[in-house]
């Protein structure tokens, strides 16, 4: 694994990237914008499931509208995250517990969102149980919060 990280970090593209003093902060800023968008797309559905946000529309309708923006946010977050990771893969990320925690939480969050939450929110309204909806929202918010907090911890000295 470390060899692979080493190969990533010292590839020609990454050496060029690191030699610029502004590419990394700009990529980090775009990553943060993606996070804010992801927050909105996740919250609008989870608040609906909790009965705290939009209330009158069917869950599935809100979920379909929000999913588009969830995909957009992931399309921003994943490449910019990968680039930040590649910049310091072998010298920094490999040794950081926060990084591995984030990867674990991110995998869980993605699987949960697209395998379980998606099935629950797209289901027929008459088959929904309020308790299960709330549980799904709490798990979703906890997983994404863990991803965000662990991500913030990666950047700390």
């Amino acid at each position: 694994m470390l060899d692979f990280f080493h190969w990533l970090q010292y590839s020609r593209l990454l050496i060029t990237m690191r030699s610029s003093s502004w590419i990394f902060p700009v990529i980090a800023s775009i990553h943060l914008m993606g996070l804010a968008l992801l927050g909105g797309a996740v919250l609008v559905v989870d608040l609906r499931l909790l009965g705290l946000g939009l209330r009158r529309q069917p869950v599935a309708q809100i979920a379909r509208d929000a999913e588009r923006w969830l995909f957009v946010s992931l399309a921003v977050l994943l490449p910019t995250g990968l680039l930040q990771f590649m910049c310091f893969a072998a010298t920094k990320y490999y040794y950081l517990t926060a990084f591995w925690l984030k990867m674990a939480a991110l995998s869980l969050a993605l699987v949960f969102t697209f395998a379980i939450r998606r099935k629950v929110v797209m289901a027929d309204e008459t088959l929904m149980s309020p308790v299960r909806n709330k549980l799904v929202a709490v798990v979703s918010l906890s997983l994404w919060s863990t991803v965000a907090v662990a991500g913030r911890l990666i950047g700390l000295p």
């Binding site: 003093s21 502004w22 902060p25 700009v26 980090a28 800023s29 775009i30 943060l32 914008m33 996070l35 804010a36 968008l37 992801l38 927050g39 909105g40 797309a41 996740v42 919250l43 609008v44 608040l47 705290l52 946000g53 939009l54 209330r55 009158r56 529309q57 309708q61 809100i62 509208d65 929000a66 588009r68 923006w69 919060s145 965000a148 907090v149 913030r152 911890l153 700390l156």
Partner: protein
């Protein structure tokens, strides 16, 4: 000059020094700032996207605004509190930071934009509440807001880089 003096005074207060030198509290505040940013900007972005006709098209605009605004406001208050603490931890460093200054200017612009929206086109929301694509004036404020949120996030993220780039 008055602001500089004020920051100088603030930096010498025990609370500021304690926060600056703390091992964990500062980092916790920083994490809270990012988390509440997701709540604040995240929900604001969903409203702005509705104003642009890009999401929740079949939901009334007034409903999106009234149901999400409490969350945006809560996020805003928490982001401002944590942000104030981050400023309080290093008043002089923030004061002389070009990105911090630009971020504050962008925040004021964003505030003006929100105020303008609520006092002009949103007053007549009943006329266009169900429009999948709202009128031009609403789309312009929504678009402006999105640009300003992006700018504020970028400027905030760049604050620590002044040292590497200019000093």
């Amino acid at each position: 000059m008055f602001l500089f003096r004020f920051c100088e005074w603030l930096a010498a207060t025990p609370g500021s020094i304690a926060l600056h030198e703390s091992r964990y509290v500062y980092l916790i505040v920083l994490t809270v700032h990012v988390m509440t940013l997701c709540l604040f900007v995240g929900t604001a972005v969903m409203v702005d996207l509705r104003l642009l006709g890009l999401t929740l098209q079949s939901v009334r605009v007034s409903e999106v605004v009234t149901r999400l605004l409490p969350w945006t406001s809560a996020g805003f208050v928490l982001t401002i509190i944590s942000g104030t603490l981050l400023f309080y931890a290093a008043p002089l460093l923030r004061y002389e930071n070009i990105f911090f200054r630009a971020k504050m200017a962008a925040l004021v612009l964003a505030g003006v934009n929100v105020w303008a929206f609520h006092n002009t086109v949103y007053r007549r929301v009943a006329e266009w509440d169900l429009d999948p694509i709202p009128p031009r004036a609403a789309r312009v404020t929504g678009g402006f807001a999105l640009v300003l949120w992006a700018l504020i996030i970028t400027l905030g993220r760049l604050i620590p880089y002044q040292v590497y780039w200019f000093n």
